[in-house]
Point group: C2
Chain length 430, copies 2
Amino acid sequence: MKKELIVPPRGMRDQLPAEVELRDWVVARILDTYRQFGFRHVETPSLEHIGLLTGSQAGENEKLIFKVLKRGEAGEAVTSAVSLDELVDLGLRFDLTVPLTRYYANNRAKLPRIFKAIQIGNVWRAERPQRGRFRQFTQCDIDVIGVESELAEAELIVATAAALMAIDLKGFTIRINDRGLLASMARLHGFPEEQHDAMFIVLDKFDKIGREGVAAELSAHGYSPDRVDAVFLMIDRLQELMADEETSSDPSPQGEPRTLFRRLRQIRDAVNAVANGEYCVEYDPKLVRGMGYYTGPVFEIGHKDVPFSIAGGGRYDKMIGRMIGEEVPACGFSIGFERIITVLQERKAAAGAPVKRLALIVDPAVALDAALAKSAELRAAGYAASLLPRDKKLGRQLQALAADGYEAFVVLKPDGGGAIERVEPIAAAG
Amino acid sequence: MKKELIVPPRGMRDQLPAEVELRDWVVARILDTYRQFGFRHVETPSLEHIGLLTGSQAGENEKLIFKVLKRGEAGEAVTSAVSLDELVDLGLRFDLTVPLTRYYANNRAKLPRIFKAIQIGNVWRAERPQRGRFRQFTQCDIDVIGVESELAEAELIVATAAALMAIDLKGFTIRINDRGLLASMARLHGFPEEQHDAMFIVLDKFDKIGREGVAAELSAHGYSPDRVDAVFLMIDRLQELMADEETSSDPSPQGEPRTLFRRLRQIRDAVNAVANGEYCVEYDPKLVRGMGYYTGPVFEIGHKDVPFSIAGGGRYDKMIGRMIGEEVPACGFSIGFERIITVLQERKAAAGAPVKRLALIVDPAVALDAALAKSAELRAAGYAASLLPRDKKLGRQLQALAADGYEAFVVLKPDGGGAIERVEPIAAAG
């Protein structure tokens, strides 16, 4: 047999036992951690309809799809077609977010209204191979579907941080931003809407290419020196406004940006309050992240030992709506599994234990950091504590929890108190 | 978005949390069991070179490959091509055996000479969808590469049985046969070589379509009533010869068949001796299994609750040789993961603990059942006991064990004795 058939396809690799054992350990610890936060593990097929993948606003990734030839009824390839597109009906998924929204749209009737998903699986991108980049790689995502408030962002960040600590990956920093905030400020600074995408992509490279690099790229995009300065002034102004959190009457421009600043601060401060100094969240007005589908807060985790991010995510409130014609808020956080494997080296251990699922029901009157603190306290007491906003009708919510298999719940009070109560099993239907 | 994009591709499915949790539990228990037998978990990419897949003698499966379009340098599809074949460079794997042999060929220098692999992963086949058959499904394989003796078959069978018991799947029966034995007897009964494949495929359906069904299919293949009778006579004769194990001088035809009968009996009896009546191995002269690459013993596990097999495997001594030009014996056992999930329903539990790896080195003079018994005893004592045939040079073998990370070894004596000794770590190279 030809020697070139014996090596894996370009950009893909064979994993030796020591690496697979490390990966198994990491998967077990992460799964266990996420389950302690009330997330549930789901799986979707590796292949999706090509139309779903190419219509997902996933930016560059759509160009990198591995496309699969149609098969005839008898399993044979179709042999007559006018164009290449007609030959293709499926593609390998390039991320886990697009499939999850399809999954939610397809299985809504069988899922709780607020659905917290764990996904761990391979994705494929036909990227130009380079060191540390593979064409098949594992992603590890959690998503909260159905929560509009920043409860979702805060829980996602704390859970992801806990997962990283569970695999002894300390020394990381979380940066957050809001796409909408950046867009609002850009408009206020006289940058028209149609320039935003290109400008944001350049800004996003700040950490890699520095202020001068960004200036050079903006010039190349036709920005005059004045307009380049205006971009940096805008960034500085965003930093200032965010830092100015002492004032009760927010000095930022009125309307949308004011609300967005407040939301970002709440997330940052609540997470930092429960982090016990083990990690911290920082505002970064230059953080963009590539996906076109993000609509609100975006976040990214960096680690002191490596120059690349090890996790990233954000809110994508429009994606499910485009599928089912009804808006459903959604927010996710994805660990770059291959990257944390690169950071970790020689560890092994055994996986976790079963969990008691508890719903921590949070009234809008409760402070976010109190909710996170209570959630941490319950986990320390052995519960898989899942933060849930309180429904208008608590009775109906408790029924839904029972149907979803919860064993216990706490209705968190504004003072941080709340007793653990048993979820009553639903009486069998007559 | 069109509704047909929201459902998974034909023959594939979304897995809800309860199912995924069951699957995770099963994976953890099986992995743990297999590790106790000294197998190591490895992974290969889902995509392989199309030439590898189509040249693998994998029978019908080669017709069911999901083929992937070539990508241009810039990630674009190639737009000019003379034939469909030229458009395709990769395919999704249809089993885990072909990729494993490629993996072994590619990584030989980094693997122990006797390599025991665990693989758990998805495979894809464009089969006509039907109840209980999916186009993406999980396989769970163990393979022993580099062992020529029936030690491999026996260990594979016991480990697979232990894995099934670890997930509380009792009530199964293991059938074994030998492809070579069937072929030898067919030749002796006057069936020319070129008829064998078609005849064996018909015979393999005996359990499903019965004696009359087999007779009808053989007639359709042009067999005269006499020749149909000859087929059944051959099967009855094989049964008789196998049963006639009391006589020390084997009454079967001389040469190859005699040796093959002896080997099959040894495997069957040794496994049954350690099975404690919890399961049993039976000879079935009609068992064939579809893959063209099998060269010796083949095995299959059925369960009382379902009409299909839940695991299957066999020896494939020529496959690696075709890749690297040097014969390396190999043998594997694959659990039909989707099928056992179908059998299992509502269980959950936590996964296992770390293992102490022990090499159970077996001299050719040691009886096979003694080796299996010792292996079971060591596992009961908390070791991951891996059966290994004794090398001519024991010192070199022990060095290799140390390099491979074994902690302990036993050189099994013909009387069944043998003390546990520590594997000495190799001194660092100067």
